[in-house]
Structures are given as structure tokens and as C-alpha cells.
């Protein structure tokens, strides 16, 4: 079957410059309105003693009609002889900027509407900037209400040159400027007879020239792993990496690399739940893969070809351009959730390199926080490595959003990867150790008195680690050593009572665990704790937090530990008694407890 092509456009511009009229006219003139729709709106206006406006067509909701403004990025369909269009209407009021952005990120082309009498206003510029930042390259500017300016070519030229200069600064080269009188439908679908001096395309001719982005399949292959499925029902034993191909294409049996884990494997099958699975998948397809090796791949990793010349960066620090729209300013020292590709992790704003107002591109100067509707060039640090691109050519894998207060509050583009070092944790630890107010009893004195060294023993894995941890505490105590079991449940009931189980709070509870063990080990104890859901980065963080006393990691049963090997690896079927024996043996070997005790 031959389906009609659909192209998404967004119509942006300052409030009251005529965006809704342009849309209304596009609908009416291309005969895209349902029967009776126009009449019902006219009737509504008559009943409410209002002058008819095309805008009312779009303002489908009562609330909007009473306010006279479009609240959301409404979706409106219309068709030309060439193809179908979906218009994402972008409201002009600044309060509704987030709705404009919502619409614009789904558009492949945009029309910016400017009222010739009002000229270039704050949102004409702000929307222009956002369109540039959001990556829309196909732009046409409509100079509207020409009828109210006597169809004056001079007035038109003046605004065109002024706005062109602005767009140039933000890297946009518009396809065209079009003088229109939207209310009368001039130069929308029908060519205006009142402006013979204009020889360019009409609005409909222009949008029919916009091209959908078809080049994605020819770019380097990128597959952000969205999720990993292992459904057990109906005797299904496949382990499927699911997601959407962001760029490029790939075939069965090709060798693949996962970042940031650096694991390698080979595509075994391509999965789509259709009668005949395809041999090759390319950009834009939602699909799944099985791979040859039973690797533990996490959602959020990026899969690419091993032999890919242009690889994404895998790092914890990067420079980015960020647009903030949260109700509260973005501040340093606060942890935010960030979504990059399919990786959902935590981030800190560590440096602000520059801030400007998106409506005039004026620099705001030195500030320690980013306020609503400001644009910042800044350095961001994630809590664990993440794979990303940083080029306009691979835009969708270079973009991110930041969540604050349960909402997407910021959006940005990564400009550059910075050195891969967990700077903020290192700084934090240096400051802490520097300020540590030690007591009068030294580490050496305690070790001599207690007859053993201090240590945090951390158990992880699928076996019954809690029982084993307590058993280890008892065994050490019976040998007259000073041991203490830290129950994670006790922590969440007490110390972590203010934290819920969310991802942001998980990092904080790990920090607190690290700090508690720092104190307990400073007191000379052998502290023991268990964390079932822990990966290599968590363990590394606890190790660092617990420094200078460090950590003994025990993996008991299966666990996602891989890059960061445990000090002791015990198979699932080991009995708790044997497990404790083995742990004690290792502690003797590492000189934590003496070989013999009295």
C-alpha cells in the first residue's frame, strides 16, 4: 500500500503576531477542515458577540477561548496536493514556552510569524534561538499583517534585514521570507495581487519544498539500549536488547561494542515480532537484538559497531549548552536527574562558563545559578560514565534533558567531552579528610589494643548474604574481635527515613552508608554490611568514601559485578558456614585479623 507522506511543522512567533490565523487559513484554504467545523466556530462567535477569528478554530477548549490564547502545542492536520502535514501550534506567551518547545522538538520545519507593525519582539528572538538549539534547520519567516502596513515593500525589507542579522548570529539561514496577510489568505495558499514586488514562494509552496530528514540511515550506527527483556512466559528464553536505532544500520553477525562498559559481542538475531525478521535494521526502527555472549548489559548503554571510526565519548564530565525552564533556578551542588540517550543518571552542575538571555543573546555575566529561560554554557558531571556524541551530525545522541521537581526542567546539547575523572567526589573527599577532626587515640593505638585492623566488609550477590553477614559478625566477635553488622533495613528505617527509594536518593543513601563506615572504621571496628542491588560504580564509590580504611568486597552467588572484581567470589551453592570460613581466611591473608588469636 502506498501511504501518504506526513511532514511535521511548528508555527512559532510572538503572541498576537498571527500564528493561529496562519494555521486557520492553511486549514481553510487547503480544504482540510471537517464539514461544519468552520460554521460551528462562526456560530459560537456570533452567540458570544465576538468577531470571528481563525484562532478560535484551534482554540478547541473553553478555557482557551476565554483567554484568547493557545495554551498547548495542539496538533492539527491538513493536506496539500503533495502530502499530509501535522502542525504543532506553538503558543506565543512566554508562560507557555515549554509548550512551544514540546511542539518544536517534533517538527522538521518551522514557520516563524512576525507582525510587520509590531516588528521583532522578545519571543520572535527567543523562539528563533530555541529553534536553532532544538536543531530545526528548515526555517521560513512570514512577515504578517502586510495589509495593515499598506503592503509596503520598504517596511517589509527593513524587518527582513534586521531579523536576518539576528538569525545569522544563531546559525540559522532561513529558506525564505514571505510577506503575508494571513487573515485575507494572501500569499498563504493564494498568491497576493497586492504585492507584485514579491516573487518568492507562497507559504504552501514553501512548506512543500521542505525535506524530511532521510539521511539518518547513512550515519554511523548508534543503538541506545532502551531496555533488556527476559520474558519467561510461553517458554521464551530469549534475552533481548530493545530500543530504537538512532542512526545508521546494522546486520546480523556484525561485531558490536557497548559503551561505557566496553563489552564486545556479536549480533545473533534481530527481533521484531513479525513473520520474517529483517536481516538489517536502520535508523528510526524500534527493534530488538540478541547477542552471542551472555553479557550483563544495562539499559542506557550505547551499542555501536566495533569497527566504527567515529565512536561516541564515554565520560563523566562534559561541556554543554543548556536552556533552563524550571520553576526554580538550576544551582550548583544539587543533584539532578538527567536523561542522555537512554541513560537515566544523576548529574551535578559544577561550573557555569557563561549565561545569556535567549531573547536578546545578551550576556548576563557572572552568576552562580541558571534562572528560568536563560541559556548557559556549563560543565556537568554525572555520577557514572555515560556514552554520548557531541556533534550536530548525530544530534539525537548529543542531546539531554534535566529533571527537577518531577519535571523536565532543562534541555541541552553536549558540546565537548571533558577529562574523565570523578572530580566532585575527589574534591569532596579531599575537603572531608582535610577537615576531619580526629580524636586523641591513633589508628595504631586502636589496632594494638583491638588486635585487628579496621575494615568495611561488603557482601553482595544473590545468596543469603544477610544471614551470612550476621554470622560473620558473630564469628569475629566470638574470636574477641570488634565487629559490627550494619543492617541496611535499619538505615532506611532511621537514618534514611527522609529518603524514598528513588534513583536520586539512592546515591544519597550510598553516600551516607559510606560516611557511616568511615566513622565505624575510624573507631577501629570491622563493619559488615550487605547490598543486594549494587554494581561496580556503587562499590567504587563506597570504597572511596570509606578511605583511608577501604573495603573488602565479597560476591556470594550471582551478581552484576563485572568490571570491578570482588575480592572474594563465592558460588551460589556455598554454605553460609563455608562462606564465613573463606571470608575469615581472606581476612587473615590480607592481615586484617591475625593468623592466630589468643
Amino acid at each position: 500500500m502506498n501511504y501518504r507522506e506526513q511532514f511535521n511543522i511548528v508555527i512559532s512567533g510572538h503572541v498576537d503576531h498571527g500564528k493561529s490565523t496562519v494555521i486557520g487559513r492553511l486549514l481553510a484554504d487547503t480544504n482540510s477542515l471537517p464539514d461544519g467545523k468552520l460554521e460551528s466556530i462562526r456560530e459560537y462567535c456570533k452567540k458570544n458577540s465576538k468577531t470571528f477569528e481563525y484562532a478560535f478554530l484551534l482554540d478547541a477548549l473553553k478555557e482557551e477561548q476565554s483567554q484568547g490564547i493557545t495554551i498547548d502545542a495542539a496538533r492539527i492536520h491538513f493536506k496539500t496536493a503533495k502530502r499530509d502535514y501535522l502542525i504543532l501550534d506553538a503558543p506565543g506567551h512566554i508562560e507557555f514556552l515549554r509548550n512551544m518547545i514540546t511542539g518544536a522538538t517534533r517538527a522538521e520545519g518551522t514557520l516563524i510569524v512576525i507582525d510587520i507593525n509590531e516588528g521583532i519582539k522578545e519571543n520572535s528572538r527567543r523562539h528563533g534561538y530555541l529553534i536553532s538549539m532544538l536543531g530545526i534547520r528548515q526555517v521560513s519567516v512570514l512577515i504578517n499583517k502586510m495589509d495593515l502596513a499598506g503592503y509596503s515593500r520598504d517596511a517589509y525589507d527593513k524587518i527582513v534585514s534586521e531579523y536576518q542579522a539576528f538569525l545569522k548570529r544563531i546559525g540559522i539561514e532561513p529558506f525564505s521570507f514571505i510577506p503575508v496577510a494571513a487573515l485575507n489568505g494572501e500569499n498563504i495558499f493564494r498568491r497576493s495581487e497586492k504585492m507584485p514586488w514579491y516573487e518568492g514562494p507562497t507559504v504552501v509552496e514553501q512548506i512543500d519544498c521542505f525535506e524530511p530528514d532521510r539521511g539518518k540511515a547513512d550515519k554511523p550506527f548508534r543503538f541506545p539500549v532502551q531496555d533488556v527483556y527476559k520474558f519467561t512466559g510461553m517458554n521464551d528464553d530469549r534475552r533481548i536488547l530493545a530500543g530504537m536505532v538512532a542512526f545508521g544500520s546494522i546486520r546480523q553477525s556484525e561485531e558490536v561494542l557497548f559503551l561505557p562498559s566496553n563489552k564486545k559481542s556479536r549480533i545473533r538475531t534481530i527481533e521484531t515480532f513479525s513473520d520474517k525478521p529483517p536481516e538489517c535494521v536502520s535508523a528510526g526502527m524500534s527493534c530488538g537484538f540478541t547477542i552471542d555472549d551472555p553479557l550483563y548489559i544495562k539499559p542506557g548503554e550505547m551499542m555501536l559497531r566495533v569497527e566504527e571510526p567515529s565512536k561516541p565519548s564515554a565520560s563523566r564530565r562534559f561541556k554543554a549548552n543548556l536552556f533552563w525552564m524550571g520553576a526554580f533556578p538550576m544551582v550548583k551542588g544539587k543533584q539532578y536527574e538527567i536523561k542522555i540517550g537512554t541513560a537515566y543518571i544523576l548529574i551535578n552542575l559544577t561550573e557555569i562558563l557563561g549565561i545569556m538571555d535567549a531573547s536578546d543573546l545578551e550576556s548576563i555575566g557572572n552568576k552562580s545559578e541558571v534562572d528560568r529561560y536563560e541559556v548557559a554554557e556549563c560543565v556537568l558531571e554525572t555520577n557514572r560514565p555515560v556514552a554520548f556524541d557531541h556533534t550536530p551530525l548525530l544530534d539525537s545522541t548529543s542531546r539531554f534533558v534535566i529533571i527537577d521537581n518531577y519535571q523536565i526542567s532543562g534541555a541541552g546539547i553536549i558540546l565537548q567531552s571533558l577529562e574523565d575523572e570523578n572530580i566532585s567526589l575527589v574534591k569532596y573527599l579531599a575537603r572531608r579528610e582535610n577537615r576531619w577532626d580526629a580524636g586523641s587515640v591513633t589508628k595504631f593505638e586502636r589496632e594494638t589494643r583491638y588486635g585487628h585492623r579496621a575494615k568495611l566488609v561488603l557482601l553482595t550477590g544473590s545468596a543469603n548474604i544477610e544471614e551470612t553477614g550476621k554470622f560473620l559478625e558473630r564469628s569475629l566477635y566470638d574470636m574477641k574481635f570488634f565487629s559490627f553488622y550494619i543492617g541496611m533495613k535499619s538505615l532506611s528505617a532511621g537514618l534514611d527515613n527522609d529518603l524514598d527509594g528513588s534513583i536520586e536518593n539512592r546515591e544519597e543513601s550510598i553516600r551516607r552508608l559510606g560516611e557511616i563506615s568511615r566513622i565505624l572504621t575510624d573507631a577501629g571496628l570491622i563493619a559488615i554490611t550487605c547490598m543486594r542491588e549494587m554494581d561496580d560504580y556503587d562499590a567504587e564509590k563506597i570504597r572511596e568514601l570509606n578511605s583511608p580504611y577501604e573495603l573488602l568486597t565479597i560476591k556470594y552467588g550471582r551478581s552484576p559485578f563485572d568490571k570491578f572484581p570482588a575480592d572474594l567470589d563465592l558460588p551460589e551453592d556455598t554454605s553460609p558456614e563455608t562462606a564465613v570460613e573463606k571470608i575469615l581466611e581472606l581476612m587473615r591473608k590480607k592481615d586484617i585479623v591475625p593468623e592466630y588469636f589468643l
Partner: protein
């Protein structure tokens, strides 16, 4: 990729995102058994490679066209769906319905659909779950509220739906604050939410009625024959409760003819819900209903 391929890929991405973020927070999908939510169910089977890893929830008004319930249970058995239904037992027992003459159409919608939906999602009214061993429905022991609800609304259906996000938070009273919706960018959605909220997820928001039929034809999705003319020159374009849903004049006897009718024929410019009487009751009735949680 053509237009239908792209719509399918995007919807699958959203479904997987819903599952990723809500699998541990009680996720369900609403299934009216109409063509849209059935396409959504089909997409879920594709997204999860043959599995549907969450329950399907149906709100039974007991005034549904009888073929709808038979079709629901047949597919539930065939596809091994975790099938659940809820209802407003109180209103039904007291005969507080429009067909029984007690109340007007809109109040009836409010009782049998909005209220039933709200309490079924919250888990404070009884839910019935299909026992696949016996084929019967039994009271469901799980009373946890659903925090992620996948819904098959389309933006082109009517005005208020065109304002929806793919992921849209609702308060516990099912209220929807249209003016204060957070932004949604690229493939990033708002998946975290404060206590006292649940999230509605709309994977087929961008589909049109024509897209739905073209997809049904392409994929061979099973659908209720009520959508076709059975020889009387009438067919249903939209399915609901029999007292308030009227068939339209149409002689489309197969999907090809439906598609033709929508593309260039007599239905090209007629609103899809023209057979739904409750939409006509007052200018913004559907919007009023939706603010209170109606789909």
C-alpha cells in the same frame, strides 16, 4: 520507512518507555475493545516480542454492544492476556443510568465510565480478573492502585485530546491541568511524579483514524465486524454503549472500503464521533468529562 512504519516505531518506543519506568509501579493498559485500543494492544505485543507484560483493564458499563464483550474475552484467552474489568456496581444496582431513565446521558457517562474508571484504577472498588484455567472472572486480590495507565487516545479525535502529552500526570482525583503541563522533548518523557499522582501514557496520540485502519489492514489485526456494513447500509464508526452510539450510513463491507470512504469518500470531512450522542449535549461536554478523568 513509510508513515505507518514510523508511527509504529514511535508508539513501540513509548510503550517500552512506559514499561521501563513503570513495571515496578503497577502499570496497566486500558482496553475499550474498540479499534484504537486494540491496535494499541497489537503494538504492545510487537513491543514486547509476543508478550503483554501488564494487565489489560476494561471498564464494563454493562450497556456495551454485546459483541464487544465476547470479542474481548476471545482475544484475552487467545493471547493469554492478564484481563481485568471494573464497573460501577452501585449505580448499576440502583439503576442510576440513562437507559433506565434515571439520569441524563452525561451523568450516566460520569457514573458508569469516569467514576468506575477512577475507582478501578485506584483499587478501592472491586476488580475482576480472568482466571485462564476456568475462563471465568474472579474478584482480583490485588488492590494496589495503578500508577501508570496506558491509554489509546488519538490527538485527532477532538479538541481536548490534541493537547495531550505522551506522558501526562493526573492527580489522584484524575484531574488534568492542561495549562500547567511539563514540556516533553525529543524522546524524553516525564516519567517521575510526586506522590498522589499517576501517569497516563498515550502511545498512539499521533495516529489518525485513517492510520488506524491502514494499520489494521496491513497487520491483519482482528477487529469487531460491527465496524462493517452487514448488509443494511449501516455500520459503526466508533463503538460504545448501545443506547448512545448509533451506526452511520455506510455500505463499507471490508477494510479497503472503509479506508476509501475515509480518504476520499463521504466520511472525509465528517467528525469521527458524530455517532456519539454525549458529545453533542453541550459545547464542551467531552472536555468537561475528560477533566474529570474520562478517556
Amino acid at each position: 520507512m513509510d508513515r505507518i512504519d514510523r508511527l509504529e516505531a514511535e508508539s513501540i518506543y513509548i510503550l517500552r518507555e512506559a514499561y521501563r519506568e513503570f513495571k515496578n509501579k503497577n502499570l496497566c493498559m486500558l482496553w475499550s475493545v474498540g479499534k484504537d485500543s486494540t491496535v494499541l494492544l497489537w503494538l504492545a505485543r510487537k513491543a514486547f516480542f509476543g508478550h503483554v507484560p501488564f494487565p489489560m483493564v476494561h471498564i464494563d458499563t454493562h450497556f456495551k454492544i454485546p459483541e464487544m464483550i465476547a470479542y474481548r474475552d476471545r482475544l484475552a484467552r487467545e493471547w493469554k492476556l492478564d484481563m481485568i474489568y471494573g464497573e460501577n456496581s452501585d449505580a448499576l444496582a440502583k439503576k442510576m443510568t440513562y437507559p433506565e431513565g434515571a439520569i441524563d446521558r452525561l451523568t450516566c457517562c460520569k457514573y458508569l465510565k469516569s467514576e468506575a474508571l477512577r475507582h478501578t484504577l485506584a483499587g478501592d472498588w472491586i476488580r475482576y480478573r480472568m482466571n485462564h484455567a476456568t475462563g471465568n472472572y474472579e474478584p482480583d486480590m490485588n488492590k494496589d492502585p495503578y500508577q501508570g495507565v496506558i491509554v489509546g487516545v488519538r490527538a485527532d479525535e477532538e479538541g481536548s485530546r490534541s493537547k495531550e502529552r505522551y506522558f501526562s500526570p493526573r492527580t489522584d482525583n484524575n484531574e488534568w491541568n492542561i495549562g500547567e503541563q511539563p514540556p516533553e522533548l525529543w524522546h524524553y518523557y516525564n516519567t517521575s511524579f510526586p506522590p498522589g499522582c499517576h501517569i497516563r501514557i498515550h502511545p498512539i496520540l499521533d495516529w489518525t483514524e485513517l492510520d488506524i485502519w491502514e494499520y489494521i489492514a496491513r497487520e491483519n489485526v482482528p477487529f469487531i465486524p460491527l465496524y462493517l456494513d452487514q448488509g443494511e447500509g449501516k455500520r459503526y464508526r466508533s463503538l460504545g454503549c448501545w443506547p448512545c452510539t448509533k451506526p452511520i450510513e455506510s455500505s463499507a463491507r471490508n477494510i479497503g472500503e472503509i479506508i476509501e470512504e475515509l480518504k476520499s469518500g463521504k466520511l472525509k470531512n465528517v467528525a469521527e464521533r458524530s455517532g456519539r450522542e454525549q458529545d453533542k449535549a453541550d459545547g464542551g461536554s467531552l472536555e468537561t468529562l475528560r477533566r474529570e478523568g474520562y478517556m
